[in-house]
Structure formats: structure tokens, C-alpha cells
């Protein structure tokens, strides 16, 4: 067993009098897809924002590659190799794929001592990366707005991987997508995992989690019920844990087992 790349130990986060996270401990391993499940308000978002440097934990420690980390802001986390792909905020629709791909990491080329955006290099890299991910572009100057939701997620993932992410946090990447597009994103997750990157996959869809997950952690009301490995847990058990057990069982009865 390899060492975990990130250990989140006893993470607590309080917002004033609200306790969003009440002591969460999770380890994430390279080359694995770790699914973080939970209903709305379970603390998933707060947890990943703590991981990606947006929030500072009130209590608890974050160890990254064996060392205690203190991220002042998201840029620190990005620099360390923790990339987050947010569902709606991954891409800018009016900008070209190539401009989006290199946003914040623009390649430059010096001409007469002034650095210019190296469009040629950017376009080449974008086209080859997109081809590797199975997206056919008309050209690198195609606007992101013309891509489907799944393709946008894929571009964002490819971008994070290209710029050296060791940990890739995906915030509900499939929740707004159709069946076909979801399958594409899940396939992308699989490709990324095989490159040795730790993928943190946030979702409230048990079926999507079961499709790609190696480990599963359920958050409920700011706490975790522990982590289960693939094969140790059934989808029904996960579903129950997310919803907090009994209530869903009664609800399920009245809905005829469709949830």
C-alpha cells in the first residue's frame, strides 16, 4: 500500500455558530478515485474548499505528501498540485478553448525583450490534449460556449492534469449532465486515475460513484461514517448512509423503492 498523498485529520470548520464540519478524517491515495458522497448540506463543499485552500480549517491538520500544509489561498494549493474543477465555474464560454486552457498559465515568447502570448504553442498543445481526451475541435479558436457541458468538464480536467495536478478535486462534475456526457466524464476520470493522480470525486449520485470509485466516504451533517473500499459496500448501503438511514427507508417504502 502506498502512502496517502493527502491526509485530512480531524478537520473542523465553524462558520460563526454553525458547525459545518465536526471532525472529518479522510486519507486520499494517488492513482485512486475517492468518492465523497453526501446529501445537500452534508458539508461536502466546505470540505473540498478546505482542501483546496479556500477555507482555513478551524481545527485539524492537512498533510500533503507527508508534510503539514497551510494554504493561505487557492493559489497556494494550485501551486502545490491540488486542482479543483468546479461544476459551473470551470470555463469561460466567450473565450476560445485554447485561451481557456491556458488561462492563468499563459505560455509566453519573448520578442525584442517583450513577452507575448505564444498562441502557436498554446494552440498546438490544446489541440493535442483535446484529441487525447477524445474531443474533436473545429480549431483551437472555437469558443468554449459551443462545447457541451461534459466536454467543458473534460477540458477543465485535461487542463488541471496538463498543469501538473497531483490531486484533482471534481465538484459534482456529473450532476448537470445527461447520460452520454456523464459516461464521457467518468471515462475521463478513469484515464486520469491511471496516470497516478488522486481524484476526489464529489457527488450525490451513488451510481456515478460506484462506476468509478475505489474508495467511498459518506459525509452526513458534518461528520463521516468512515471510508469503505470498493467491494466492501453496496449501493444501497451508501444511499442509506447519505440520507441518514431510517428516514429514507420509510420514504422508500412509500415511493415503492424507486429512490
Amino acid at each position: 500500500m502506498t502512502d496517502p498523498i493527502i491526509r485530512m485529520k480531524g478537520i473542523e470548520k465553524h462558520f460563526g455558530s454553525v458547525i459545518a464540519l465536526a471532525g472529518v478524517t479522510v486519507d486520499f491515495y494517488p492513482g485512486e478515485c475517492h468518492c465523497l458522497l453526501g446529501d445537500n448540506g452534508a458539508g461536502k463543499s466546505t470540505f473540498i474548499k478546505t482542501m483546496s485552500g479556500v477555507h482555513k480549517p478551524t481545527k485539524g491538520t492537512i498533510e500533503f505528501e507527508g508534510q503539514a500544509m497551510n494554504f493561505a489561498d487557492p493559489r497556494d494549493a494550485i501551486a502545490a498540485g491540488i486542482a479543483t474543477v468546479y461544476q459551473d465555474l470551470a470555463m469561460i464560454p466567450l473565450m476560445s478553448v485554447s485561451r481557456n486552457f491556458f488561462m492563468g498559465n499563459e505560455p509566453t515568447k519573448k520578442i525584442a525583450g517583450i513577452s507575448f502570448f505564444d498562441h502557436e504553442h498554446a494552440n498546438e498543445v490544446t489541440m493535442s490534449e483535446m484529441r487525447a481526451m477524445g474531443i474533436n475541435l473545429r480549431g483551437p479558436d472555437q469558443a468554449v460556449g459551443t462545447l457541451s457541458g461534459g466536454e467543458r468538464q473534460t477540458v477543465a480536467i485535461a487542463r488541471a492534469v496538463h498543469f501538473g495536478a497531483k490531486v484533482l478535486i471534481l465538484d459534482e462534475p456529473t450532476s448537470a449532465l445527461g447520460v452520454r456526457q456523464t459516461a464521457n466524464v467518468l471515462a475521463t476520470v478513469d484515464k486520469v486515475r491511471k496516470q497516478g493522480i488522486a481524484v476526489v470525486f464529489i457527488t450525490h449520485n451513488v451510481r456515478h460513484a460506484m462506476a468509478v470509485g475505489d474508495r467511498f466516504t459518506v459525509l452526513n451533517r458534518g461528520k463521516t461514517f468512515g471510508t469503505a473500499e470498493r467491494g466492501e459496500i453496496t449501493p444501497e448501503e451508501l444511499q442509506d448512509m447519505m440520507a441518514g438511514g431510517e428516514e429514507l427507508a420509510t420514504l422508500e417504502g412509500s415511493l415503492g423503492g424507486t429512490v
Binding site: 487557492p74 493559489r75 494550485i78 479543483t84 468546479y86 465555474l89 470551470a90 470555463m91 469561460i92 464560454p93 466567450l94 473565450m95 485561451r99 491556458f102 488561462m103 492563468g104 498559465n105 499563459e106 509566453t108 513577452s115 507575448f116 502570448f117 498562441h119 481526451m133 477524445g134 474531443i135 474533436n136 473545429r138 469558443a143 460556449g145 459551443t146 461534459g150 466536454e151 452520454r180 464521457n184 471515462a187 475521463t188
Partner: protein, 371 residues
């Protein structure tokens, strides 16, 4: 995945050349420029509009619009507005007059200090906008009134008048003033005059001098700023940040773009071009007035919108904005040459603005694939 790619191939049609041309932001500006020139060539060719003097006349007016349009364009693409541009022009001109005439400073010092003060106001605009998260529309509307108020109050208090003159004399022999108020290629124009290519004065104390004696620095500034703005926007890393900041500030932040810094710098740049405008104007008129620059902020915004930029930010072109400014200058002066009642210019403005906004919205839908 291979499934998805075949899917793309069959469902996304090849873009036609026309459609490809249509999503260029400059399109509206190009069509408008051609239309305007065609119109005036057909209907006002004999009016003197296309003689050397006439060309210089509308070129100078267009250049004025261009200078402030470049600033407004970059700021709008970065997702913000500056309504204080007009007041800034009046304020900057008045500051130069107060420093050089009332306080008797050398002209170069007055100009430099004015630049510093105005750019600081621009930075303050930007700082308030990014810190409070308020719409820049409101913040700069406040600055519009504050600066205009000072522009009237300061000369009233110090000089008991609202127009301060004598600036041309004060600028005599100064090293910095000609960079804004001077002319270049005067020898070349004299030669053109001597060769009979352009007319020369036949009477008065200017006898033998060409009717157009050089290219005003105002035009040089305008073209220089357009080239600078265009390269900055399309060919540099910072340009990508400008698009990103206006396209979606939060997404840009997550990708590591220093959005706040970009926006503040664009506010400072807008203040800079407003001051360039003011200094050139003051040098040309030889005076500063409290009412200078009124409504310039809207004219700049209209030129930018005609040039294809979206009011919501994230999309636009400096070249387009420059064409918008050219359309503006040609029509305003062309109507004058054609002896059309000048109030009709405003009607024209309103109509063309409406068309431009409708066209831009349509183009945006084409780019993003929304329906």
C-alpha cells in the same frame, strides 16, 4: 469516448466562411465604416469633406473619440464601466491650468502631476469597485459628480471664473507640452504644399504655408494607443487576463488570474487616456473650461459598443472600438459638411447604438451556441 467524437463529427456542421467572419467582433465596425464612407462619398463629395482640410478635420475628431474609446474598450472587456471619463477630462484640463497658470508651475510639471492625480483617481475607482463588489456603474457615477464638482469649484474659488486661458503661451518652449499639442511631419506637408499636392494659403500672414501643416500629436496618440491596446489584448498574457476577468471573474480567480489587479489597472488606464485627451485638448484650445468633456463617457461607450464589445464584458476588440470612433467622427463632421442640422447627429447615434447592441447580442448567441 470514441463514441462522443463521432457524435461531434456528425452533429457539428462545418462553419461557413460567412459565419466565421460574423463572429469577429470587428464586423459591425467594418460594415459601419464602409457604409458611412460610401454614404458621404456619394452625397457629400463636393462639400470639402474629402479635401486635405476636411480629412484633417474629421480625423482629429475621430482621433479624440479613439483615444477615450481604447480605454473604455479594454475596461469594458474586463467587465467594468467608467462613467467618470468625461468629468476626468474636464478635471485634468483644469488641474493643468491651475498648476501652470494660477500656481505658475512649469508646464511639464503641471502635466506630470495631473497625470499622477488622475491615474490615482482611476485606481481609487477600481479599488472601490473590487473591494465593495458594487457595480462600477454606480461607483463611477459618483466619481462623475465628484470630479465635475471640483472642476467647477476649484477655478471658481481660486480665479473667480470657470475658464482659465493663456495655456498656449505658458506652454511655449516647454519640452513635454509638444508631445500632446505639437504636430509632426510639418516639413513633409510643407513639401506637399510646395509641390501643389495640397492647397496653400494665398493670402494673409500664412501665405505660402500649406492648409494642413502637419499631423497633430492627437492623431499620433490615437493610433499609438489603438496599436498598443490591440497588441496588449490579443497578443499578451495580460490580454488573456482581461478577457478572463470580464468573461467570468470567479472562474478566472479559480484559474489563478489576479482579477482584482487586472480591473484596477484597467481603471487606471482609462484615467490615463482621459488625461491624454485632456492635455491634448488644453494645448489645442489654449484654455481649460469647467464644462469640458461632458458626455464623453457615453460617446466612448457607444464607440466601443459599435465596435462589437459586449456590455457584459469578456468580448470585444480594440480595432472595432477604433472603427466605432472613426464612424462617430466621420458622421459628426460629415453632417456638418453636408449642412445637415447637427441635432440629427444625436438621432443617428441613438439609432446606430440600438442596431449595434442588437447585432452584438445576436453574435454572442452564435459564439456561445445559446438559443
Amino acid at each position: 469516448m470514441s463514441d462522443a467524437s463521432t457524435n461531434d463529427d456528425e452533429r457539428i456542421k462545418e462553419m461557413s466562411g460567412l459565419r466565421r467572419a460574423m463572429i469577429r467582433p470587428e464586423l459591425g465596425g467594418m460594415v459601419g465604416t464602409v457604409a458611412v464612407f460610401t454614404f458621404f462619398l456619394l452625397f457629400a463629395f463636393d462639400s470639402g469633406m474629402f479635401s486635405a482640410q476636411g480629412v484633417m478635420n474629421w480625423s482629429v475628431v475621430s482621433a479624440q473619440f479613439m483615444i477615450i474609446a481604447v480605454g473604455a474598450c479594454l475596461l469594458m472587456i474586463a467587465g467594468e464601466f467608467d462613467l467618470s471619463v468625461g468629468s476626468m477630462i474636464g478635471f485634468a484640463g483644469m488641474m493643468i491650468a491651475v498648476f501652470s497658470i494660477t500656481l505658475g508651475w512649469p508646464m511639464w510639471m503641471a502635466i506630470i502631476v495631473t497625470f499622477v492625480i488622475c491615474i490615482a483617481f482611476g485606481a481609487l475607482n477600481g479599488f472601490i469597485v473590487v473591494r465593495t463588489g458594487l457595480p462600477s456603474f454606480i461607483v463611477t457615477l459618483a466619481t462623475l459628480f465628484i470630479l465635475r464638482g471640483f472642476t467647477i469649484f476649484i477655478p471658481q474659488t481660486l480665479e473667480r471664473k470657470t475658464i482659465i486661458g493663456g495655456l498656449r503661451e505658458a506652454a511655449e518652449g516647454d519640452w513635454l507640452a509638444p508631445i500632446f499639442g505639437g504636430k509632426i511631419l510639418t516639413g513633409f506637408f510643407q513639401w506637399l504644399g510646395d509641390m501643389g499636392v495640397i492647397g496653400v494659403f494665398t493670402r494673409g500672414n500664412l501665405e505660402g504655408k500649406p492648409v494642413v501643416d502637419g499631423i497633430p500629436m492627437l492623431i499620433v496618440w490615437a493610433l499609438g494607443l489603438v496599436v498598443f491596446g490591440h497588441i496588449l489584448l490579443t497578443r499578451t498574457r495580460f490580454g488573456n487576463w482581461i478577457f478572463a476577468a470580464g468573461g467570468d471573474a470567479q472562474a478566472a480567480r479559480y484559474a489563478g488570474v489576479p482579477v482584482d489587479r487586472v480591473k484596477i489597472m484597467m481603471f487606471m488606464f482609462t484615467a490615463f487616456v482621459a488625461t491624454v485627451f485632456a492635455v491634448s485638448q488644453v494645448m489645442e484650445f489654449g484654455s481649460a473650461g469647467s464644462d469640458r468633456g461632458v458626455l464623453k463617457e457615453f460617446e466612448a461607450i457607444i464607440a466601443v459598443v459599435i465596435g462589437g464589445a459586449l456590455l457584459t464584458g469578456g468580448y470585444g476588440s480594440v480595432v472595432g472600438a477604433a472603427l466605432g470612433a472613426l464612424i462617430f467622427g466621420v458622421v459628426q463632421q460629415g453632417l456638418f459638411f453636408a449642412n445637415v442640422e447637427s441635432s440629427l447627429f444625436r438621432v443617428f447615434l441613438g439609432v446606430i447604438l440600438l442596431f449595434a447592441v442588437i447585432l452584438n447580442t445576436y453574435i454572442r448567441r452564435m459564439i456561445t451556441g445559446e438559443r
